[in-house]
Subunit: 140 residues, 2 copies
């Protein structure tokens, strides 16, 4: 067997050791077999699953979404509409977040550029925060 320890699994997957145990605890990862000394022993399939999870987390999918995606991966003959819907929903979220952050960026730039490095009572940063009416972005 080429089973590996949790530390090795962490190194190879890029998921930290306590996080792996956490994923096991919430049922994202199956309980691995144990060595005689009660230490977790992972198979290559577990490593793939961990890498899948890490990648999905990096893409910002929530754990519940990942749970669904993993169960789809386990049943490859099902239609992929659900996976598609999850990815599309995430895409829309990301697009909205980008738009919102662009507005924040514009407002922050205005604050920072307007700051003459004088005293607080003339500071554009504080001023804009105190008086919302001054900000160009009225969406919020």
């Amino acid at each position: 067997m080429k089973n590996i320890t949790i530390g090795e699994a962490a190194r190879k997957s890029g998921v930290k050791v306590p996080t792996i145990r956490y994923y096991e605890g919430i049922g994202l990862l199956r309980e691995p077999s144990r060595s005689e000394g009660n230490q977790r022993s992972y198979e290559p399939a577990d490593l793939n699953r961990l890498t899948f999870i890490r990648h999905a987390r990096e893409l910002g999918f929530e754990v519940e979404a990942i749970r669904t995606l993993l169960s789809l991966q386990d049943n490859p003959l099902q239609p992929c509409a659900t996976a598609d819907a999850i990815a599309k929903a995430r895409l829309i979220e990301v697009e909205q977040r980008i738009r919102s952050l662009m507005a924040l960026k514009a407002e922050l730039e205005m604050m920072v550029e307007g700051c003459g490095h004088g005293r607080v009572d003339q500071c554009r940063v504080i001023e804009v925060l105190a008086d919302h009416a001054q900000c160009t972005h009225h969406g919020h």
Copy 2:
């Protein structure tokens, strides 16, 4: 006096009632005076402070940063370098976040476009997640 209840303060500031109490608990907002029946009674200055906080939170400043910004606002004769630094740091964070989200967006678009709405075993969404090597964005 034109003091107002917590509910009115919530309506006027856009900060929810429990959140106002939370801000008081962590010391962002001073403890207001109380009515005979022990109910909080806010002055206009408190409302300004609440609005300041809300606006800063919307811009993504952390509570600790807001604490500093508020103390600067309370001491208007100080130099505003600290306020400027906080805003600049937040701007850099926002810019990084935008860049990262753009990369995610590209990857998600690739996944979604590649999905032929067939079965999971041919699904690009699952495939890309399972095999990180397939993704164009190798930064993560």
